[in-house]
């Protein structure tokens, strides 16, 4: 898996460049979202990536805030996973803007009455916190690796910014700082990701979004999907692969992830069943699209079967097998895009007024949506960016300490 990761990421990056080129030359004319379904794959990808990030970050708090010793060897991996996915999220939403060159306006003329206005500030604060926390988590290891020859040593040396104290006292001081940063980070990550959930939840015009459960479901979904991705990452890139300690870590993470996934499914059930029972058309139109529409398989096959049933069975029956747990994590993490798509699209793919569908035609004036090839290619590129950042970080930075390497 580790050997495959580089070529896969590079191929995705190169193929995805076609999408980047198309986006830069064709603008939004190459996209299938438009006026009636104004948000498409890229917005879904954005909430998918920030969910992965927030989830991985919140699990890192188990190490840095709640001091769970078992997970300590993979704490930095969790933080770095959160960082890589957060960068991919930025590209995804940035290129979705009609005027990407005006993105900075969100800082300079923020409307704090808008959840999206809050989003940019919370995103930035979370990003900065993540970088600072990562630095404190790696500082001592970077000071150690600064002595290594070659580029890695030079990079480590530079990134310590002169703080090369490797004593236990300095490490303890770092841990204290990390505890404070992590404690600030928990409410910040919840505010950021829950806030993006609220960005959807407050839209009264879309009854499917307009629910108090929406921000909560965003958070639980983030924990489940981010936790799953982190489990997969820790299974293959964690320190001392094959050791008893590594096995314990992965099987522990597997259990946490399944618990979170089940909780997420419970929220989904609560939302769907109450709406369907009341059967108010504006509420159920979107749900009917999810369950029985053209893309029914996204929910039933990708989300429920591959993203829930199979991983749950894998962990119940092979929870001690690292490869099984890793597969379960990968399945949940990858298929969670279907959950994010099923939040964004079905709420928009319904007529707000009867007769709108046929009243006027033109590009973007359609209620059926499937991402265009440009959208898919660009999405693959953002995935590869997250992957490459992670792989580069893994090979150049002391993300894991493998002093007692077994495998």
């Amino acid at each position: 898996m580790k050997k495959l990761a580089w070529p896969v990421a590079i191929i995705l990056f190169l193929v995805g460049l076609v999408g980047v080129y198309q986006r830069l030359t064709l603008g939004h004319t190459g996209a299938n979202y438009g006026s009636y379904v104004p948000w498409g794959l890229w917005v879904a990808a954005y909430i998918y990536f920030i969910g992965l990030s927030a989830g991985a970050f919140l699990l890192s708090a188990l190490v840095y805030v709640f001091q769970i010793k078992l997970l300590k060897p993979v704490g930095k991996l969790a933080l770095f996973t959160a960082l890589s996915t957060l960068v991919a999220a930025m590209f995804s939403i940035w290129m979705d803007l009609g005027h990407p060159e005006r993105a900075w306006e969100m800082i300079f003329r923020t409307n704090f009455g808008s959840m999206m206005g809050w989003m940019i500030w919370l995103y930035s604060a979370y990003f900065v916190l993540l970088l600072v926390e990562l630095w404190f988590a790696m500082r001592r290891d970077m000071a150690v690796c600064a002595d290594e020859p070659g580029f890695k040593g030079k990079l480590c040396s530079f990134l310590t910014f002169g703080k090369k104290d490797v004593s236990d006292a300095s490490a303890q001081k770092d841990m204290k700082t990390l505890r404070i940063l992590g404690s600030v980070g928990i409410p910040l990550a919840i505010a950021f990701h829950g806030g993006v959930g609220a960005l959807f939840g407050v839209v009264g015009a879309r009854p499917y979004w307009n629910s108090g459960i929406t921000p909560i479901a965003f958070l639980i979904g983030a924990l489940a999907s981010g936790g799953a991705l982190f489990t997969f990452v820790a299974a293959f890139w964690g320190p001392n692969r094959g050791s008893e300690q590594h096995k314990q870590i992965i099987s522990f993470l597997g259990k946490i992830v399944i618990g979170l996934l089940l909780f997420d499914l419970l929220l989904e059930w609560a939302e769907y069943s109450t709406s369907l029972y009341a059967a108010i058309p504006a509420h159920t139109e979107g749900l009917n699209l999810i369950l029985f529409g053209n893309y029914w398989w996204v929910f039933w096959i990708i989300h429920l079967l591959l993203g829930a049933v199979v991983p749950i069975l894998l962990i119940i029956f092979a929870g001690k097998n690292i490869n099984a747990v890793a597969t379960a994590g990968a399945l949940i993490a990858v298929t969670f895009l279907s959950v994010r798509l099923n939040i964004v699209i079905p709420a928009l793919a319904v007529e707000e007024l009867e007769g709108l569908k046929n009243a006027f035609t033109g590009p973007g004036l359609s209620f059926s949506y499937f991402p265009s090839s440009m959208e898919w290619l660009f999405f693959l590129w953002t995935v590869s960016v997250a992957g490459l950042i992670f792989l580069l970080g893994y090979s150049l930075l002391p993300l894991v300490s493998q002093k007692k390497e077994v495998a």
């Binding site: 004319t29 009609g98 306006e105 960005l199 015009a205 007024l353 007769g355």
Partner: protein, 238 residues
């Protein structure tokens, strides 16, 4: 001819209504549109005149005419509902804008600053009437050997020239503004003047002598999705 049969031309009266309104400060007038669905024949002349007036590119529409079928065969009927922007008094599209690029003007019109809009499209999702559309930059001469000059001509929305080159309003969200640029010159919105059945009424609702102020006081005047609390400035006579 008996006096009762002498009627002032509706267009002339409405034009006088808006001239009177324009003499007041902006905050003291409130533009309102009334659409008589019983007079609408579904010809789409308003839609087309709006496209022509604002030089709307493919995929942008400010005023589609919705066709709704009523009843079951053999007792069937059709209702036509032209749908401009409702210029809500409580517009859900305004508070969601992350950069304050859209706002409620004192005269009731919900305006967009094309140069501030970042094209995030949050306002589109927030509008319960689908009144906002996203200008992705399509042209009518796409796929033909030559881009026609008429496509590059500027429109005059919000009282200034917007040539169709690379910049705004391409990449922006766009919507009906009651032809604000025409109103400020004392002209009625394009859809009102073009309607072949004179099904559109327009004026200042704060002026009790205006025709719209009289019309919305009738029991058959309704607004769309009242339950949303948006307080639209567009009324329908049904």
């Amino acid at each position: 001819m008996p006096d009762i049969l002498i009627q002032e031309n509706l267009m002339v009266r409405m034009q006088e209504d808006i001239k009177r309104a324009l003499q007041k400060p902006e905050a003291q007038r409130h533009w309102v549109m009334v659409i008589d669905t019983r007079k609408c024949v579904g010809c789409n002349a308003c839609t087309v005149s709006c496209v022509a007036e604002n030089k709307l590119p493919p995929g942008i529409v400010y005023r589609p005419v919705l066709e709704q079928e009523i009843g079951t065969y053999p007792n069937v009927g059709k209702r036509f509902m032209p749908r401009p922007c409702m210029q809500c008094d409580n517009p859900p599209c305004v508070p969601v804008c992350p950069v304050n690029a859209t706002w409620k003007r004192d005269d009731g019109i919900v305006a967009i600053d094309y140069e501030a809009c970042i094209g995030c499209r949050y306002c589109i999702t927030a509008c319960p009437y689908s009144a906002r559309t996203f200008d992705t930059g399509h042209t009518y001469s796409e796929g033909t050997p030559e881009q026609m000059q008429y496509e590059l001509e500027p429109n005059f929305e919000y009282g200034r020239e917007w040539p169709r080159d690379e910049g705004s309003p391409i990449g922006n969200v766009r919507k009906c503004h009651f032809c604000l640029h025409r109103l400020n010159e004392g002209e009625l919105p394009a859809c009102v003047t073009t309607c072949i059945g004179m099904a559109n009424y327009f004026g200042d609702v704060n002026d009790s002598d205006s025709i719209v102020a009289a019309l919305i006081a009738s029991p058959n005047a309704i607004r769309l999705k009242e339950e949303m609390g948006t307080e639209p400035s567009v009324y329908y006579l049904v």
